[in-house]
Amino acid sequence: MADIMNAIGRTLDLANDLPPIHMPDVKLPKVDLPKVKLPKVDLPKVELPKAETVKKKIAGISLPKFEKKVKYPNPAFFKAKDNMDWKAQGENLKEVGGIILQLFKECDWKEFVLRQKNGIAADFARIKSECGAFAAMTPEERKDIFLHGEKQLGKLYRSGCMATVRREWRGAKDTAYDFYEWLHMWGMLLGTFSKDLVPALNATFHYRWMISYMCCVGFMDKNTLGQKGSALRMSHLMIYDIFRYVAENLVFLAKCDAKNGNSAELNKKVVLFDEMTMGQIMAGFPDLLGIPYQLMPVFLVSEIDQLTCVPYIDAVESFGLPADTCPVPSSECGALVLDALPHMGACFISSSMPCDGSVMASSYMARRFPDLPVFHLTFPVRYEYEETVADAAEDIKACIRFVEEKTGAKWNWDAYFRNMKRFNEETKYELEKWEVNKTPYPQIIGPAYELFRKWNYEMDGGSDPRVPKTFRKVDKIMKQAYERREEAWRGKMKYRGIVWSCPAHYYANFSNWIANCWGVDILVEMESLNFTKPLETEDKELALQDLARLYERMVMRRHTNGGYRNVVDELWRQCEAWNVELIIMYQNVACKNMSTLQGILDEQARDKGYHMIWIEHDLMDPRTVSRKSMRAKVNEYMRTVMKAEPVDPSLVEFDDENAM
């Protein structure tokens, strides 16, 4: 073949070398062709479809997508080589073993056995009582319980227990579905951790917060308590995405941590973010891995296990930090004092957001990890001043340059725009949820949704291509439920409520309790109402300005910064838009931005005729204000001011002091 090609090539070369040939002019004679008549043919009449129909048909055809499917997160991150120091692990295991042995020796076994006996006796008594109650019911009541679930959820709690006494009976169909999702979640968790099991398992011997994640499925149950039908399905879909993200990041944390996986290969690609700093900037670095550093060890885990942060708070207060500072930065600093955060990453993006306490926590970080390069992302507090936007965009540019310099990666506009288009689509779906919840038939309420909104807005931010699918599914279920005029909390839709200020981490499912107990349905909370303008996805300069606007309006900061109007006037505007009658006004005792407006909020609520229930809490420290005390504030208000009767009286008084 090669010889033939060479021969052709040579011939062509020869042809190029030949002299030009001049052809003589020849005139052709004219020829007259005979005329032929063609016979007439009657064609059948065809009715063309109307333009509208064609358009519909075309719209219905799904063309194959040729977009390259990108796996998320990058599988290479999971496969990055670990460099575990086995000798150090051995020493650590020895130490842990020593602690366990000591616990074993010092355990009061008589007391332990007695407790177990009491527990078993209590279980028997409960089963007997439940069977007796069921036997005493009429056939209709039994049928109702069988189909629609139990009515007294307070019975699931037992004094002193860390978990509920059993799973909730939601009715045959919903219990089966719930159990399927329970298995589904466990499957995902095991599947994710098995991608690099050893460092992840090993992390449980180094960090107490890793143990708290063992009960994450219990957290899922807690957040869906009392939910059924469409509401239950939507909650499961959303919480699944959050836990997939958490599980993946826990694996990465363990792989990167110098005390565990110690993967130099992965650490080169890891950019750490300060608490609550949004992750959208990483959209422009598709080859890097952005991890919100304190999210898993401190922030999120405190929602799963109410007691996780207590040792951190105690440690930093013993160190000298005043007890009146916000528990978020306090806990993070405490975790640094106790060396409870992984040693990892190529660089760290610290931030001045959302409040004064967060600003200061970065100096503790620098103290613990002096060699970790830090960029301080600082946006104007008076973010509504238009003259500050350009300067905020400059800070983003400087941050991008910093990441490029420390990691060797290059900012990729295409990747950034692609992710932001996805984020815009997600925001569009979010706004549809709001529209439905503003109607007399709200559909998507409860802690799972509240958590999902914050996670998607702050952490995911359009980076995960799997998430839009969840949005679409939830949207479909929500709209169908709306068409059917379903009740999101069956039989418990009595009052329309809004949550303002930050909720207690140790009582993340408070809105769940208040709906189940008193029929107060939280339609939206302050932390969800953030920036919803579609982000620029064409012009680079405008895109950076939009990104700055987005960051400036992060969770909490959107309301508590930039002037009182953003939190006071905004509340009245939202109350009107969502047609609410009751405001759950959280008062994080250490949140200076909010507590400095308590008088104004109180006065104006009275003037405007809203019911406002003030609920104090200490965010991550349940010892200051317990869950029970938080509930007592609502109980008191509902009974004395609203003259209301509880929907589920078993939930008015119960003991969950030790419950996760």
């Binding site: 004064d356 830090v374 300067d391």
Partner: protein
Amino acid sequence: MKDLKHLIYFENLLENADNELVEQAKAEGGLAIGYTCYHIPEVLLNVGDCFSVRLRAPRTGSIDIATYYMSNYTCEFARALVERGIEGGFNFLDGLAGVDACSMMNRFYEHFEILKMNEKPNFFVTHTDMPYKIEDYTVRSYVKQMQIRLLDVIHQSYGVDVSDAAIRKAVEEHNEVCRIIQEMAQMRKADNPVITGYEFHIINLVSYTCPKRLILPYLRETLEELKTREPDVKPPYRARVAIVGSEIDDPGFTKLLEECGALVVSDRYCFGSTPGREVLELKDDEPALEQICRRYMELSECARYISDEKVAQRRETADRLAREYRADGIIYEQMKYCDFWGFERALVSHIMSEEKGWPVLSIDRVYNAKASGQLRTRFQAFVESLEIKRIQKGGRS
């Protein structure tokens, strides 16, 4: 030592925000512009007919009404100002220059607006945005804020000349005050200083709270008096201390400390002389506003500055001042509920002690500290420990 001639007069001036000299300046057609924070360059409030008054709430008693509005877990300084504002104590002001630097102080300015504490027709409350670090673009931003949100507002409200020339004129007067205060500050380096910490605190405070033009003659005279003042033969103090931390506008705090046997030789706190009383050298070929803003950012020791070099600067300044003024120990203090200094104090008090070797007393305190028995006990114990350390090192007892 013989009493300073004007000390009692100065003390009286500090008894009210609306003091005799403020009243005099107002009667002469001056415009009183209130401010609280170093982030607002004082000199910019002294342009044209304006004069600056750094706000305090002297003789604060109950702050119950402010506590209703702002809760009891917030900065007492901010609450005391709200209380004083509600009482009408700031009705003399013609404008309020606010900074959104710390959330609680910001809410003081906002309550001023919401509760309509001053209803003069042209009265303004302006809010300026402050940077957290020093970069080209943050300096530009700071300049922009001072121009748009401060100077332009003053000009629009009262037609005051805020030109470059007017600013430079204000700087001249400002610099004279600073030179005097600096000269007095230097006297504290002596073994047996001719000025006590309390006296210096009083003099420095009047320089912040009175119109510059009117307080200057008294300051000049006091400086001359100090130059010839004879110290006591035996120094009355047992230990020299440097103070570092958040806002102290209460001379009673220094008095309490000195009653316990200390001599305050350095004042690195808000309302102190470092920073605040540095001379501003201006070049002719650059707008004065830009130079002032950059200089204020560089000199600021506010714990709000987050960048690494500013964090290091704060520690170095504390160490340098303690060494230059030959302190025996450092007191790290914070106003209770101050987030910035709460975090800073907790961490840096350890660093100063463990790395720099300074004996450190770390305290939080209420706004009016002079009546605090608890503080007195801690001060006494600290002075005693410093004295013992010195004796152990073979110094004088």
